[in-house]
Every structure is written in C-alpha cells, then in structure tokens.
Symmetry: C2
Subunit: 192 residues, 2 copies
C-alpha cells in the first residue's frame, strides 16, 4: 500500500478506521465501495451537489453514507435491492453522472477478489487480510465506469397526505388505504 | 435542556454534533429518532445483540445507524418504506424486542411537533430552533412503546447464486432471470 494513498479525502488509515467505526468491521465490500466512491467523485467533480444510487443493500450503502454527504435518512442516497455491486453519483440538477461497478472480468487478475465475490471459496479458506491486501493492490484496477443520465428515482421522495389510522391510532400515509399497512395484516411484528 | 441529559450514551451536544456531521443538519426527525433509539435501547437492555427495523426512509434510518451498531450496509438495519415514524429494536436471537413510535396523541401537548409532523404549518412559519426546542422539552413525552416479537424480515438477507449477465457482462443474481434487471429495461439510467 503506498503510504501517500488518499481515498475519499482521507489517508488509508483514516479511511479504514471510519469504516470499522460505522460498519463494525473492515468489510471487503465497504472497502471496495470506498474505491468506487472515490472514482465516481473524481468523475463527477468537486463543487457538484451529487445524489447517489446504489444497486445492492450489501455493504455499498455504507461506503456512500461514509464518504459522501448522501445518507438514506436525508434522502440523497437511494438503495435499489438488485444485488449488483454498482453505484451512481450524479449531479442532482442535471441528472448526469457516473456509474461505477466492480468489473468481474477485471477482477480475474485478482483471484481472491474474484473468488470472494463469486463465492467460489469458503470464507475460512480466504483469510480477511489476504482479501483486503488484494483489494488494496487492485484499487481502481478492478473497477469500470461509464457516464450516465439518471431517469428514475431522482429527486426527493415527497411525503403524501398524513392521516391517523382508525385502528392503531398512529399516523400513516392515506395513500395506503383506510388503515395503515400493519393493521392491514402486512406488518412484521406481533404484540407480546 | 437539563445539562445532565445524556442520549444514546452521549451528551446532548455530542448527540447533536453526531447528527449534523452525518445527516448534514440537525434535522428534527433524526433528533426525535435519537430519543426513540434511546428509549428502545433501554427496553431491550445492554448486552443484547439487537437488530433494527425502521418503518420510514425519512430521517429515522440515520438515527439508528448513528446510535446503534446497525447499518443498512451491514444488514442489521432493515428499512421498510411505510412512512410511519416507528422503529423496532429486537434481540436477534429471540426476535423479542420493543417497538417505539411517535405518538401523535401525545404530541398534541407539543404543538410545534404536531404541526410539523402533520404538516399543518408552512416550514417558514415554524423556525427550526422553536421546533427543536420543543422536541428537546418533549423527549420521551411524545413517544409510546410496546413489546413485540418480530416475525418477518429478521435475519440476514442471504445472497443467492451469482451469474454473469450475458448482455452487460456484470455480475447479477440468477434468480432475476436470464439477464440482469437493468438489461431487462428496468434500470434507472441511460448511457450518455
């Protein structure tokens, strides 16, 4: 690892510590995600207010939330559950930006990364430090990018009219019907 | 604000700074979310490995990600887009936990909070400091909670078999069909 490397405006050590603190451990997917964010930011340019879309719920949302101003809760990051290891940063005004993805063809040069992503080797046979070392060596060498224009899911999701559910008494969006979804039997919990 | 107040293990000042740094500003919804997490954690107890479900994409996911070990990317936080201001922390082993919600009836005693949530007053007529002051005074006084058992969406979402999309050459889950969703025309971007 060249000591002069900076990623997402941080030294590599700060970068790694930021991941561990938030994500709980230095997960390979979040580290790769950091390289992806770094590349996308370079294309989009500084001084551009960029929103983000990530195409998997695994790891990648945390890289975007840590290394850009976009979070789930502030609405600038959207997460699509496609299980593709890809993200797009785009100018929220023009909707033009850059999509970056883990390029499987390119990862063939980095067998630990390829085997990890394709899950060809059991976890216990792929020590974390070996995998992380290869990810750090690969850096942008495992990524591809393309200029895109975003045509869905851009902009803030607007809240609709709020009403009180006649059954549970909680606030819910009227667009869901005469009761909230939980009271319609689509909840995820039972009282105990 | 009593100076001795701690929230989610932080002084109120640290709590507020943590929100600003991650979310971009001291958003009322994230501050309320912090009080909700604090209450849920007290019920669930320390020493319990708790997973989280939040019932809106607005603000609340950030409170959980900041004040618990659960993030979107590490899979311990699930986000349900129901637009209900509620969250559940639960023991990942027993699936028993506590659901906490912003109780609209209780917020009637705190008119700024009620008017903000129900969007009865235009933003420019509800200064942020007035709203935040009332949220801080309300604290748990605006929340309700109930013991629940989680019966859906618990556990890790497992990744299925990965294949290479014959059209774009990217990795995708085979369960989606013969091509990835983007190549099936369900994408969010066009090349430029």
């Amino acid at each position: 690892m060249p000591t002069a490397l900076t990623l997402c405006g941080k030294t590599y050590r700060e970068f790694a510590e930021t991941i561990e603190r938030f994500h709980g451990w230095k997960a390979p997917g979040v580290v790769i995600g950091g390289f992806m964010v770094d590349l996308a930011q370079e294309h989009v340019g500084t001084g551009v207010e960029a929103d983000a879309i990530v195409e998997t719920i695994h790891c990648l949302p945390d890289a975007v939330q840590l290394f850009t101003p976009c979070t789930i809760g502030n609405g600038w990051l959207k997460v699509v559950d496609w299980d593709k290891f890809a993200l797009t940063l785009y100018d929220k005004r023009t909707r033009e930006g850059t999509r970056v993805w883990l390029d499987l063809e390119k990862t063939r040069r980095f067998p630990a990364v390829y085997n990890w992503y394709m899950r060809l080797v059991p976890k216990q046979e792929l020590p974390l430090d070996v995998l992380l070392g290869e990810i750090e060596r690969a850096g942008r060498g495992m990524l591809s990018s393309a200029p895109v224009r975003v045509n869905r899911w851009h902009g803030k999701s607007k809240k609709g009219e709020v009403s009180i559910c006649p059954r549970c008494g909680e606030a819910y969006p009227v667009v869901q019907g005469g009761m909230c979804l939980a009271c319609q039997g689509r909840g995820y919990y039972e009282q105990r």
